[in-house]
C-alpha cells in the first residue's frame, strides 16, 4: 500500500486519504467579470503534468486536514508534502530512489 506523508500526522496509508486535484489554483476574485472562456479555463483546464505535480490531498480518515503534496505522476512517488498556505517547496533534485 502507498504511504502518503501527511504534514500533520506523518506517513499514513493511502486509504485514509482523498484526492483534491491540482494545487495552487486561485479562484478569480470576481467571476462575473470573466468571459466564458476565462471562467471555463479556471473550472476545467489543468496542467495534466507528466512528472512532478503539485496537488491537494485531504487526510479525511485521519486529522481531516487538507494539505498539498508534490508527487511524481510517472512513479507515484511523493517528494514532499506541505501545509495549506505554505509555499510550494523547491523540487528535490536527483533520483530519490
Amino acid at each position: 500500500m502507498l504511504l502518503i506523508p501527511c504534514p500533520h500526522c506523518g506517513e499514513r496509508p493511502e486509504i485514509e486519504f482523498t484526492y483534491g486535484g491540482e494545487a495552487h489554483l486561485v479562484r478569480p476574485a470576481d467571476p462575473s467579470t470573466l468571459d466564458d472562456a476565462a471562467w471555463a479555463d479556471y473550472l476545467y483546464m489543468r496542467s495534466n503534468t507528466k512528472g512532478v505535480h503539485a496537488e491537494r490531498w485531504r487526510h479525511a480518515r485521519g486529522c481531516g486536514r487538507f494539505f498539498n503534496a508534490l508527487r511524481d505522476t510517472t512513479t507515484d512517488q511523493f517528494l514532499a508534502s506541505y501545509r495549506i498556505g505554505e509555499p510550494k517547496p523547491a523540487i528535490p533534485t536527483g533520483d530519490p530512489r
Partner: protein, 182 residues
C-alpha cells in the same frame, strides 16, 4: 426521537478479548490554539503539538484528532449539558465549535495478547508498541468503517465507532479472531 435513539444501542458481543464499553458522554471540539488552551482549563486536552496523543485525567480524556480538533470522552455520569456549559464559559468569545456527540458512536474495547493483530486484520496502521505507544490515538479505518483508535494500555485498545457501524465492526473483529483465539 432522541430517547429512542439513545436506548437503541446495538447489542454487541462480549468475550475475554472484546467488550462493548458503557455509555459515555462525548463532545467534539474544534478550535484554534487559543480556544484549545482555554478549553483545557475545563477539561484535559492535549496540546495542538501533541499529535495523535490522548491526555487523561482520571476517567476523562481528550483525544487529539487534528491540529484543531479533539474528541472529549467522559463517563456518562457527566451530563453533556453541564460539560458543554463549563467548556463554553472557559472558552468565552474565542471562535470554536462544541457538539454533543455522546450517542453518535459507541466504544468497543479490544484487549489481550492478540489485540494488535486483531485490529490489524482490518486496520492498516503499524500498531506495534514502538510505533503506536500507549495513549496514541487517531482517526483511521477498520475495513469499511471509520473509527477512532486509542491505545489505552500495552495490550488494550479503545475503538470508537459510529453507532450504525458498530455491529459490522464487532462482527468483523470476531471473524478475524477465528485465526487467533478460536
Amino acid at each position: 426521537m432522541r430517547e429512542t435513539a439513545v436506548r437503541n444501542v446495538p447489542d454487541l458481543p462480549a468475550s475475554d478479548w472484546m467488550r462493548p464499553l458503557p455509555p459515555a458522554t462525548r463532545v467534539a471540539f474544534q478550535g484554534g490554539p487559543a480556544a484549545r488552551a482555554a478549553a483545557a482549563q475545563a477539561f484535559p486536552l492535549p496540546d495542538a503539538q501533541a499529535v495523535c496523543r490522548a491526555r487523561r485525567d482520571g476517567d476523562r480524556a481528550g483525544l487529539w484528532l487534528g491540529p484543531d480538533e479533539c474528541l472529549l470522552i467522559a463517563p456518562a455520569t457527566t451530563a453533556a449539558g453541564a460539560l458543554l456549559g463549563a467548556l463554553r464559559s472557559a472558552i468565552g468569545a474565542t471562535a470554536h465549535s462544541l457538539v454533543d456527540v455522546s450517542h453518535r458512536q459507541v466504544g468497543i474495547e479490544v484487549r489481550g495478547p492478540h489485540a494488535e493483530r486483531l485490529l490489524n486484520g482490518a486496520c492498516p496502521l503499524d500498531l506495534s508498541l514502538d510505533r503506536f505507544p500507549v495513549d496514541m490515538c487517531t482517526r483511521t479505518v477498520f475495513a469499511k468503517a471509520e473509527i477512532v483508535l486509542w491505545r489505552t494500555d500495552e495490550q488494550q485498545f479503545r475503538v470508537e465507532v459510529w453507532r450504525s457501524f458498530a455491529p459490522y465492526t464487532a462482527a468483523l473483529l470476531q471473524e478475524i479472531a477465528r485465526d487467533y483465539v478460536g
